[in-house]
Amino acid sequence: MKKFIYISLLALIILGGCKKSVDFVPQDKLSAGTFWKSQNDVQLALNGCYGYLANAFNYAYDDGAADNAYCQYPWENNATRVSAGSIDATLDAGYNSRYVFIRRYNYFLDNISKATMDEPLRKRFIAEARVLRAFTYYELAHNFGPVPLLKTSYTDPEETAVAPAPAATVIQFAIDEIKAVEADLPASYSGGAPNQTGRITNGAAWAILTRIQLEYGKYDDAVVSAQKVMAAGYQLFRKTALTANDTKDDYSTLVTFADDAAKQKFYKGLASYQQQFWAANDGNKETILVSQNIQENQSYAPFGNGLRILFATANMGGWSSITPIQGLVDAYWKSDGTTFTPPTPEQRATDFNIKKTPSANYINEFKNRDTRLYASILFPGATWNEYKDGYVFTWAGVAGSESSTGYNFKKYLDPASLASGLEFDAPQDYSIIRYAEILLAYAEAKNEVSGPDATIFAALDDIRDRAGMPLINRTVNNTKEKLREVIRNERRIELAGEGQRFFDIRRWNIAANVMKTPNDIANVIVQERHWQPKFVLMPYPQSALDRNTNLKAPQAAKGY
């Protein structure tokens, strides 16, 4: 029995010794309690906030949710269901994913004061984070209308299930935030930590403001904001000297050149517009806010540009996920800058003659058109020798990974990255806001404020000229209403594939007219589309509704 006691004692000793040996902390996580000490900590946390700008190429899907394009794979993106008008709470138009970043921003802003660091830099970092937060809230509001407005980090996650703030309040918050901090932001960054290119600049802050103010009809403010950007030294990307590659495609069969100067202008315009989206020209002076991409030599690269797959044709190894629809193709001006009148769909189908070969008449549609059509759209008969010698785009109807509209986007396809067989691994940056948009925003806002004037024409001419197109006709477009139509169409084609059209047709209140069932070249339905007024705003996703009862009434108010 004595021994039994010894053993019991031994057991107790072992146990006593073990009390401390059940203390472990993770070796791959930073302790929140000891973080926020140094400038480096803050820099790392701010990089976490910048994650919002990664993979912005997904904005291209928004064109497919509008009348510019069609997204043929409903299992790939919501855009297919949105454009079809099959919209309910079972889809999430980016609600949950955006609040992930709201959490990061608030966590950052509530803790940055704890670190020991350079004060001006702290101020700048705060400004960067607040602009990112404002931009995110703006994007939430223009998708969903009223949304919960969380401005500080939380301790109990249940606290976040608050009632949505009216969209106007959210938008005013975003505007006020940007205005409060824009002065703390530099005009540009020199590179290297903590001044890497791609961070929010003063110009980016004003550009975001311009976009918000334009979208919410604050035209006076938008004019002012746009002017700030216009004075900041940005300029449209222009290629001043042509290389042999730039003239590899012979456009003389499509475009009638008056003289060699006109030809030069055309080719320069084509190269300038098209190549601003190529990796070789990343960081050109037109970019204001950009989502940087790199090549990672792997499929489904987390930081590659996915349009290499989503826009490209089957024979380029792409999926033709997002393809232009006839309405967009028709929207491109004639080469003289006037409106193109398309043939009837029936006539086009006859000319195209899908079962056999297109008649000579078919290609007339693409003769003497806006340079940007040739730079942006692959249409049957289009050549692209720079991608591959002898390449001709053809279309013979729906087939695996081929376009289901008859067209593919050429814009954003970089021949350099098309050579790779790797999916989602293109290195070209994707513009979130580029200078052309600001010029267009200025033109639109100024025209709404005071009608046509020289500054508006100058802004529009800059865009037209860069694309090798003639200047805006001052005499014809002499009223606010006439010029408005020109600006809207100019905006549609200049920014095609950049995700703006989705919100444009909503703010212009033209969605009911344009969200019509599109047909392909052979005049066959591409997708049956239904429009209801409530589609102006997206529903809160069911997963959010299930966890925040405060969303139920606003959801019903939105008509869902």
């Binding site: 990089n47 249940e158 990343d282 089957a314 109807g397």
Partner: protein
């Protein structure tokens, strides 16, 4: 040799001293009950080698030699050994009593063994005969259908992922509910357990109630499976067991041929108002197969999968020993996959020893090493990819080039995804795992009844995986004769992943047992400390000069071409440490083997919780009454054994907690590209919960064990298990909190109640030489969520499940499909659905009657957990032949099959034959098996339409064996030889009548490796 010399010596000695010392004793041995003489009884003089055997009349003669006060030991198979001091007698008549096997059957229990009759908790033992000689991939799968209340899901999976999972007595919580596995006293993982060679198993006990398992405290909430591996005894025995079998799929996905695909695809386009894809001419070409280079009829499954794949096992063991007992075993298991090139080899070695060093000191060791893995010259391809390949795509052109044509046109995207090409040319994969478990234990017995034991064990697991993706030349277009650029793979890469885990256990126990008159006491106390560590590294490197290089250092040194991770690509944290410090004690008391009492308690402190919430006590108690031992039962001769058991206790569970869920940590990693390069970032991640604590489970159990007419045994258990403070990722976190999936804090939330019963019946009968037994087991569990922290339900989780008060765990929550829209008028009169329905689309029930189908119309539509399971086991033997049939069934369970598994054309996939019974304009059947076909998703919303019946009754195993008669074997000096043929999963009766091409044991998923059936032949040889 030594023995022979001794024998010679003894002959010599006997010869020399015979004159003086001879003392013969004679006697007779009889059966105590029948008084018939017993032949062949061994009589040994204790402490000597002097022995004799009784003859056919039960008589024996023994030369006692020089022994002064000899004690004779009588032993006979299945009789209780008897020791008789001889005194001065020269003649001895003895009676031996036949052992009642049930009475002396010893059962392995926590930290020791116990006589089965003395058990007061709910413990089931597994008949080890039913788990050997079956062509199954794991010990887990071998257990299927053998124990009531133990549900084993043999989910299909490719090599190494087909080991099955175990659940005891229903889902007590809302997360994983795997039991605790204890092998030779050491806690091991489910994967370690699954890989134990069934031939090495001496005994398996399943501890089901609190009384039996609560001494394992914190981890025993879902029951405990105790395994004891074999030990040797006596003269060396060599045994060899081997089988060879062929595996084939139970069900293969049933895809349509090219012609039906084309017809349906045309119809899908027409249904969307578009023109058909294939004209009459093309359809004719597809039907006649006149030009398979353009319009093929490719059966991808037939091309890629082998019809059958071999598997075999060889196991050799040597065992024996007197003072040092040993069991050495080596096994080789080889299993081919239906996917060519994959050939899993598993090597297992086991060495168990036990040495009686002195009267008081015994030491033992258990060493086991298991290595398995395969080396595959082919690239690992996913079943989703095969499911997405359509019959109109060419796999290989007639000129020998890889397929480039789909439905008459070259298609680079599809050609690039050709699974056959990727399989054969795409790369290679190797993996292997090494599992070492070494245990040393010693027992010191200073006085009779007191055992002081120490145990030290080290469990090391190493995982290695290497996979190489080749650069591949582009496919040459069959029509254009030009290479299709994007089909080339331009960058090769090598991924190497290593994981190393270790588990250290040190444990000390002391037990003391004593009989005082009719009272029996046993006390056990102990302490243990366990520490687990895990490290993982995965490195991906690209840009190797050619595809033959196979080491990380041979790749491109550019920083962009190397990435490193600390998970295995599954997002499961690969780095961690945890520890558990415990003390425990148990008391047993029995009075006259009639009234039994047991009580135990354990305290565990776990590193997985914050200080202050780490430790908890788990007590339990049980009583049993052996009614059959009472005097008043004497006249009921039909009742051989009758025992009533009652138990209650508390258990814990920490299975569903991460190592550091209490810790407020931040994530690191690349978050964005700035300056055209990757930027490290820090982000807030999973929310910490410092208040996190144990999941607590209270169990009540009442049981009845009976043996009637000596041949019918019955075990009935009725139980109630209440789990409180259930651990789960908080399902109620608002979306606005901005937590990505997996970042929800773990919380203690809710209560789940499982009431149920388990019944097993076994009848052994014998008609002359024909012996048979019929066994059945049935288990039913009523599972219900009874509390959710005050709320009536939590928000739906994992897409389609919900927890709601009063409903069982695993409830499917979705719209209820009520057939298909018959016509436009039907749509107009029905509640509004957002998918712009057309006739032939799925109609959802408007539960709240508000005229709109929305989130409020979701209801619970059945369950995915089998709460009713049953098994039927038959066995028979006649002379040398033996036959056994093992079957298992579950009912009332559903499975959600979506995407490629059931939905036509999903993401470019083919279409299954059941879709042919679809709704069409010509046959607008509102109850058709499939809605109108489209190449769109308007019918793919979460609804009960995609729930399929997963009930089944399956014959798990049939075995027919023949034991070669002893008379023949004796001539060859062979102790035993049996040959057998066996089949695993030969027949299935299934509940689903619609889709029919999925295995009912498969989980809700997309395309996956098929479940297998096996036919094998084998032999058992003992030397």
């Amino acid at each position: 040799m030594i023995r022979i010399r001794l024998l010679l010596l003894s002959v010599f000695l006997t010869g020399s001293f015979a004159q003086a010392q001879v003392r013969n004793i004679t006697g007779t041995v009889r059966d105590a009950a029948t008084h018939t003489p017993l032949p062949g009884v061994t009589v040994v003089v204790k402490g000597t080698t002097v022995k004799a055997q009784s003859n056919s009349s039960g008589n024996f003669v023994l030369d006692l030699g020089a022994e002064k006060s000899p004690v004779l030991i009588f032993s006979y198979v299945s009789y209780t050994p008897l020791e008789v001091p001889l005194g001065n007698k020269t003649h001895l008549d003895v009676q031996l009593t036949e052992e009642k096997r049930e009475l002396n059957e010893v059962v392995v229990v926590a930290y020791g063994t116990q006589k089965k009759v003395n058990l007061s908790g709910a413990v089931n033992t597994v008949n080890t005969k039913t788990i050997i000689n079956r062509p199954v991939t794991s010990l887990t799968n071998a257990l299927q259908g053998t124990v009531p209340g133990v549900a084993i899901k043999s989910s299909p999976g490719d090599l190494g992922n087909d080991l099955g999972s175990i659940n005891i007595r229903g889902r007590a919580n809302l997360g994983t509910s795997s039991p605790l596995f204890v092998v030779d006293g050491v806690i091991v993982t489910q994967n370690d357990f699954a890989r134990i060679n069934p031939n090495d198993v001496a005994a398996i006990s399943v501890l089901k109630d609190a009384s039996a398992s609560s001494i394992y405290g914190a981890r025993a909430a879902n029951g405990v499976i105790l395994v004891t591996t074999k030990k040797g005894n006596g003269s060396p025995t060599i045994s060899y067991n081997a089988y060879y079998g062929r595996q084939s799929a139970t069900y293969l996905p049933d895809y349509t041929n090219a012609y039906n695909y084309a017809i349906l695809r045309n119809e899908a386009e027409t249904n969307l108002g578009r023109t058909p894809l294939y004209n009459a001419q093309t359809l004719e070409a597809i039907k006649s197969q006149s030009n398979p280079d353009l319009y093929p009829n490719t059966d991808w499954y037939a091309l890629i999968l082998r019809k059958s794949a071999a598997m075999m096992e060889h196991q050799l063991s040597v065992s024996g020993g007197e003072k040092t007992k040993y069991y050495l075993s080596g096994a080789f298991f080889d299993q081919n996959s239906l996917i060519p090139g994959k050939d899993l080899k598993r090597y297992s070695l086991r060495a168990n020893t036990e040495t009686q060093i002195s009267d008081k000191f015994k030491i033992g060791s258990n060493l086991s090493f298991i290595r398995d893995g395969y080396s595959n010259d082919n690239l690992e391809i996913g079943f989703t990819g095969i499911g997405r390949s359509i019959p109109l795509s060419v796999a290989k052109q007639s000129n020998g080039d890889w397929g480039s044509v789909t439905a008459g046109k070259e298609n680079a995207t599809i050609a690039g995804q050709n699974p056959l090409r990727l399989l054969q040319d795409g790369g290679r994969t190797n993996y292997n795992t090494n599992r070492f478990i070494g245990t040393l234990n010693g027992t010191y017995t200073p006085v009779k009844g007191l055992d002081i034991s120490g145990l030290f064990s080290y469990n090391a697991y190493n995982y290695f995986n290497s996979s190489f993706i080749n650069t591949i030349d582009p496919v040459t277009g069959f029509i254009t004769h030009k290479p299709l650029g994007s089909t080339a793979v331009t960058t090769n890469q090598l991924t190497e992943a290593w994981q190393s885990t270790s588990n250290l256990l040190s444990q000390a126990t002391a037990s003391y047992e004593k009989n005082i008159d009719k009272n029996y006491f046993k006390v056990l106390a102990g302490a243990s400390y366990e520490k687990a560590q895990k490290r993982t590294i995965r490195v991906v490197r690209k840009g190797f000069p050619n595809n033959d290089l196979n080491a990380i250092n041979a790749g491109s040194t550019l920083p962009a071409n190397t990435t490193a991770f600390s998970d295995l690509g599954d997002n499961v944290p690969g780095v961690g440490e945890s520890a558990l410090a415990s003390v425990f004690a148990r008391v047993n008391y029995a009075y006259a083997d009639k009234y039994l009492l047991e009580a135990s308690a354990r305290n565990d402190a776990s590193s997985k919780f914050a200080p202050g919430h780490r430790a908890a006590w788990y007590p339990s108690a049980s009583v049993a009454w052996r009614i059959s031992q009472e005097d008043f039962m004497k006249d009921f001769t039909a009742v051989n054994e009758l025992k009533l058991r009652l138990s209650a206790g508390k258990l814990g569970n920490i299975n569903n907690v991460g190592d550091y869920d209490f810790y407020d940590g931040l994530n690191t990693g690349t978050t964005v590209i700035l300056d055209q390069s990757k930027q490290d970032g820090v982000t807030p991640g999973k929310l910490a919960n410092p208040l996190l604590s144990w999941e607590k489970l209270t169990t009540y159990n009442a049981g009845l064990d009976a043996t009637l007419f000596k041949s019918l045994t019955l075990q009935l258990d009725v139980f109630s298990r209440i789990t409180k403070d259930i651990l789960l990722p908080d399902p109620n976190i608002p979306a606005e909190a901005g937590l990505a999936s997996g970042e929800e804090p773990s919380v203690n939330l809710g209560t789940v109640k499982n009431n149920g019963f388990e019944l097993s019946l076994n009848y052994n009968g014998k008609i002359n030489d024909f012996g048979y037994s019929v066994g059945g087991n049935v288990s039913k569990i009523w599972n219900k969520v009874t509390d959710l922290g005050g709320a009536n339900e939590t928000a739906p989780y994992d897409t389609y499940f919900i927890n709601r008060i009063g409903q069982p765990v695993g409830s499917f929550y979705m719209w209820q499909a009520e057939g298909l829209f018959a016509n436009q008028a039907d749509i107009a009169s029905h509640a509004k659905q957002a998918n712009n329905p057309k006739p032939g689309d799925i109609k959802y029930k408007d539960q709240d009657g508000n005229g709109v189908i929305d989130g409020n119309d979701r209801i619970i539509n059945g369950n995915n957990v089998p709460y009713f399971t049953y098994g039927l086991n038959l066995s028979a033997n006649y002379k040398g032949f033996d036959l056994s049939v093992l079957s298992q069934g579950v009912s009332n369970v559903k499975v959600y099959l979506e995407a490629e598994a059931s939905q036509a054309f999903f993401n470019g996939a083919g279409v299954k034959n059941y879709v042919l019974d679809r709704w069409t304009v010509d046959n607008p059947n509102p109850n058709a098996a499939y809605p109108r076909v489209t190449n769109d998703t308007q019918n793919f919303g979460l609804s009960s339409f995609w729930l399929f019946n997963a009930s089944y009754l399956r014959v798990k195993a049939i075995t027919l064996g023949y034991t070669i008669p002893k008379s023949i074997l004796d001539r060859a000096k062979i102790k035993g030889l049996r040959v057998y043929a066996s089949s695993n999963n030969p027949f299935t009766i299934r509940g689903d009548k619609r889709l029919k091409d999925f295995d009912p044991e498969a989980p809700s998923q997309r395309s996956a490796y098929p479940s297998l059936k096996t036919f094998s032949v084998g032999l058992n040889l003992t030397l």
